[in-house]
Symmetry: C3
Subunit: 265 residues, 3 copies
């Protein structure tokens, strides 16, 4: 296994791995994280013994956050213009991976981080400590067109109970029990034959997965939108605001600050 | 803006419009309403400043009701046989509209009125005063095959709490708070850039919209079914019943009267 | 109507039939049941008066269970290799049937039995006495990708309240009221014109049904998987366990015994 700075990997046993996002203070998706995550997911996919990978966070209050928009120009690009964007490649690899991926969500997850959680096979969220925002390609398929419009265009955070009710997460579990619950279910999956897990997942994928092309065009649209003058102006304003209030305050109440213009009117 | 008799339009500001259905006593979809609504929706779609349109009702106890089946022959027809039916054109325009449409639902909504509500981007329903019935093309996509069969074939009314649980509405909100809630969320959407709203909606549409052709054939099937002898006989019976009990009593308990034959057996 | 050993048919009146699975002690899907069920469903589909068929169980604690894997070699095969598998033909006939099918679920339903219940138009489950497991082709479409992965790969049983919350059943109803509720709704459907029921169902099917080919390949994959050495070994182990604890104990706690390997690790 490769060594990584921003993504920790721990092997519970040869069938179960624990992967933790670790980019303090607010677990943004940075260019380096994307490169590391791509390497990690590729390695996990090539591991012939692995049956279950649990994704968690080693940063308090944040599971996995949105893209670090201040570093947009530095994100890794594919080797050729025809190749899939690196981020999309991560999402697609994870979806079709020959193991079961479980997001064990404690803290905030938004934008790209939320899309990654939605690309995993299962999502268990801390009832008290998980909060959710945005994410454009997967979310409508799980919570429906109207609730996705409310969440994505409204940019507010949702608590875990609402997320469970909407179908955004598989289950909301009281924070005390989350780790034990995930550990038991990971072991249970690992008790089955790898071939059976892969076969059943492939069959379920056929019934439920969006087309690969949708993810690719989705990422391209996101990248293009980041270059719009109106978006760049809003990013500039948000950047100035971060200078005043600090990134911690900003991220803890992102919905509030994104909505500030509406309240000022 | 055009003047209308059966549809009221009020401009909250240049970014937000309020549209109200006003065809007392029970807000049926009449031939005139369809013509006016088509004009209103077309104008809203062509307004380069508009960001949010809130659709409500100015008739007590009814949001927007089913087609007025006594006037079936008078409904407007498209200019050529190849053109979309006018009603379908309204639904499609609304779905792809370059603004966010919000249904603020107080009172009963059924059949065509319910399909129109489901074609909007968001649905907020009065917990105490909203009731729902039927609607064949959109409903299965929101609440699933089985619950749609129960609702459409059973012809009963559903309260707002059940509607929220099934995914029929985005949220059920206590009647006291409904107007304030919708006003806040409309202003919040309007605080974002129009281009961003349109872009996000287009992306969500791609993931969730039925094909345009489905709406067109759906409306054609509905029109054809209205000419079946068995349907015409039932309509005739219902018409006689209205003569005895009045349209208000009939519409308030439509599910009961439609189901009367089953209880008499 | 044909006489059957393992499937009881009772005619409530000429518009409503009651079909009951009756293969004690645990209502397994045996080769004979498949042959009988195929005959029964074909006859019901050809009955020009029938409007509603209620499917129930005459075996305590089991609605309809998984395939009897000890008799895999004896299941009926289609007349030619190109024809649909008999089981798939039952599912497809039921889905497109010119009557409304209602599953009135009391007891456990799993695997193939659960898939059959999901192929029906409506599912009403005893709040206290219905339990659900597995089923690979329909389930993801009703409860979503993640919850289907949890249920199918985890092999645990779910109670009726969870099943209703996930969208696995139309409604969970207290056991006391289940029979009366189903009887009322069956009569209500039967009060409508048969042509209207068929037309509405066809329209809803168009919006919601998986492709026929998916069911066919799904059954073929299931049959193929049963021949995998790892699956055959697990079946052999389960068969030995049944010899020790009895089929009643095994079936009542199937999730526990399937998961036993994970707890022993």
């Amino acid at each position: 296994m490769s060594t990584n700075k921003l993504i920790h990997i721990e092997r519970v046993n040869e069938e179960i791995a624990r992967v933790a996002f670790a980019n303090p203070p607010v677990n943004l998706i940075s260019p380096e994280t994307v490169s590391e995550l791509h390497k990690v997911v590729t390695e996990l996919c090539n591991d012939p013994k692995l049956k279950v990978a649990v994704f968690a966070s080693d940063v308090d209050d944040y599971f996995y956050n949105h893209f670090d928009l201040a570093k947009l120009a530095e994100f890794p690009t594919p080797v050729s213009p025809e190749a899939n964007p690196i981020w999309t490649d991560i999402v697609l690899k994870l979806t079709h991976a020959p193991f079961i991926s479980i997001a064990s969500i404690r803290g905030r997850t938004r934008g790209g981080g939320n899309e990654l959680a939605l690309a995993m096979d299962l999502r268990y969220a801390s009832l008290e400590k998980a909060f959710f925002g945005g994410g454009s390609e997967w979310l409508p398929r799980f919570i429906g067109r109207d609730r996705a419009i409310e969440a994505i265009l409204g940019s507010d955070d949702y608590d875990a109970q609402t997320a469970e009710r909407f179908g955004w997460v598989t289950r909301a579990i009281s924070d005390d029990n989350l780790d034990a619950f995930v550990s038991v279910i990971a072991k249970r999956f690992a008790s089955f034959d790898r071939q059976a897990l892969i076969g059943a997942k492939a069959q379920i994928n056929r019934a439920t997965l969006p087309k690969d092309e949708d993810f690719i065009s989705s990422y391209r649209e996101f990248s293009a939108a980041m270059a719009w003058p109106s978006v760049m102006e809003r990013l500039r304003q948000m950047g100035m605001l971060v200078g005043h209030i600090g990134v911690g305050e900003m991220e803890k109440n992102l919905g509030y600050y994104l909505g500030a213009r509406s309240r000022d009117k």
